[in-house]
Symmetry: C2
Subunit: 337 residues, 2 copies
């Protein structure tokens, strides 16, 4: 099947290619009557502008890129990324921007992908996740002048806009809630320690515990996988002075921790209270359902996409904080016995 082009429309309408282009793009230069005629012909023959031709003539590629730098076995089970992606799509789809995805193994590969995408003019901007301290991607993005939005932070990303959620406030709320229930020995199993938001959470956790006079408030670093979550939980529970509550940096590790506790014959929440970060169906699926720090990941993604589109349009975008995180109490938390 042959694809219709603006030349076809021009022929049918008895005008030049240029006039068709003006009409389709809402530019001045054609009369209202002609514009309507052209638009109805375009509609009739099912015209879609060739994205390559459009991108070539200096316009946008109408696509944004996202690299995912986590092992496949985590990507699959972590609701986080898919939630984010659905959010992006809500905004991108509305403007018929495409989302281009690439799974990579290392930050170095991410940089390579950015360079290639830029060279190929394949995308107009990128969404950057899993930001680290002194992230190597930031200077590259600046050098290439590639519009970008960073998810996570706050941290130093120069002129590149950031979106983050109030992790410090959230963990403070969780700790206060556990203390209010009567807990004094609270531990935390964190995500990958290099990530900026992990560091922010760890700092906030230490601060609130110090402020409330909790000692023994340790953070065990893990990597978001169930295996590491189990291992960290076992380490915490076999110690002599075991915690009565554990906060996990994601839902997968929290579920793994729950399984370890049950395996060791501990009752949840009787012997151990559990709080998960990021509420997903996973948390309400298990028994008992997990108390979680909820946030609207999809809305978070939508906001990030919107910021990126603004950045692509040359509008200056500032750093913004996404919608609030709130504690959703469920069956996994209770006063300690």
């Amino acid at each position: 099947m042959k694809r219709p082009t603006i030349a076809d429309i021009a022929r049918r309408a008895g005008v030049s290619k240029g006039a068709v282009s003006y009409a389709l793009n809402g530019q001045p230069g054609v009369s209202e009557a002609t514009r309507k005629r052209i638009l109805s012909i375009a509609e009739e023959i099912g015209f879609n502008a060739n994205s390559a031709a459009r991108a070539l003539s200096g316009a946008r590629a109408r696509a944004v890129g996202l690299t995912l730098c986590r092992p496949a076995r985590i990507l699959g089970i972590e609701p986080w990324f898919m939630g984010l992606i659905s959010g992006f799509e809500a905004e991108l789809g509305a403007r018929s921007y495409a989302l281009t995805l690439q799974v990579v193994a290392t930050p170095e590969q991410e940089v390579e992908v950015y360079r290639r995408w830029w060279g190929e003019r394949r995308i107009d901007g990128v969404i950057v996740t899993d930001i680290r301290e002194d992230d190597i991607r930031i200077p590259v993005l600046q050098q290439l002048q590639l519009p970008a939005v960073v998810i996570g932070g706050p941290g130093d990303t120069g002129p590149i806009a950031q979106i983050w959620s109030d992790d410090a406030g959230a963990i403070t709320e969780a700790v206060r809630y556990l203390v209010a229930l009567g807990h004094h020995k609270i531990a935390r199993v964190s995500g990958v320690p290099d990530l900026l938001h992990t560091q922010n959470r760890t700092k906030a956790f230490q601060n609130v515990c110090a402020a409330l006079g909790l000692d023994n408030a340790i953070t065990i670093p893990a990597d978001y996988t169930g295996e590491e979550g189990s291992r960290a939980t076992r380490r915490l529970l076999i110690g002599g002075d075991r915690p009565t509550a554990i906060i996990y940096d994601n839902d997968v590790m929290a579920v793994a921790g729950l399984a370890v506790a049950q395996e060791m014959g501990l009752s949840v929440p009787g012997d151990l209270s559990i709080v998960a970060w990021d509420d997903s169906p996973l948390c309400s699926l298990v028994h008992p359902p997990l108390t979680a720090l909820s946030r609207d990941i999809s809305a978070y993604g939508a906001q990030a996409a919107l910021e990126l589109l603004n950045a692509i349009d040359g509008k200056t975008v500032g750093n913004v904080e996404a919608g609030r995180v709130h504690l959703t109490p469920r069956g996994s938390t209770a006063p300690p016995r």
Copy 2:
């Protein structure tokens, strides 16, 4: 920063644009010495061919499309799609093909997206998942002559290649295993009934149960979500003649089923054995870990991508069966009390 073009290379090498194009694409028409010189200059200045220009001049867009038509809350937690995507990337990335993603709400929207992508020349082919009986996407893909590969089946997709896994064999194995353990009352909680592979599984389940003389082998339709999984499980367990084993069409529903059983005071596997379809970290995360029908989803995706790339290259591709599904016994299955 200005992006280097073949004209820049041509100037530096003292040859014409045409010669550079031949050299970069491995075409005959330049001497080995010149080719090497051109390639080294390209390397040196970090040249990447503008994908728009390339796509415009009749060549490929070097991108394939994937539409996801499931509600966001399932996409997030189902390891299936992300596993598939990682698999695609393994093959696509190696050939620097991009993967373009679009989340949609209905099959009608999927058709629209296919049409738009085709009109925009944005992609060279699509990967079709969640195939239904008389799927409306198939005739459209044929009409547009858009290269495609269908994941799921077998079923009637005309000239479009399919990849499926041996669902019938897998469920037969699972039922035989449960019968060998001593179970006689086996039920199944299925995925969305419209999907072709659900129907294939249901048929195979009925066949094997009939062959083994099991009556009462009912299938309750659900939709892959934890909520529906819980509901179906409750329906099965409150009945007078309750099953001693349940097979679930995905891992999420199986985990939900486990939670329902525990909530009702039933012991797993003592009172109820559970088998999950598709093994993911989720299955080994819970307590007890779930016996599962495992398959290498990532390899499945990689094979699908490879078939699609072949189809794009004009090679005729046949229907293929992906790697075997095998039963992984874990703690959730045992002889009934």
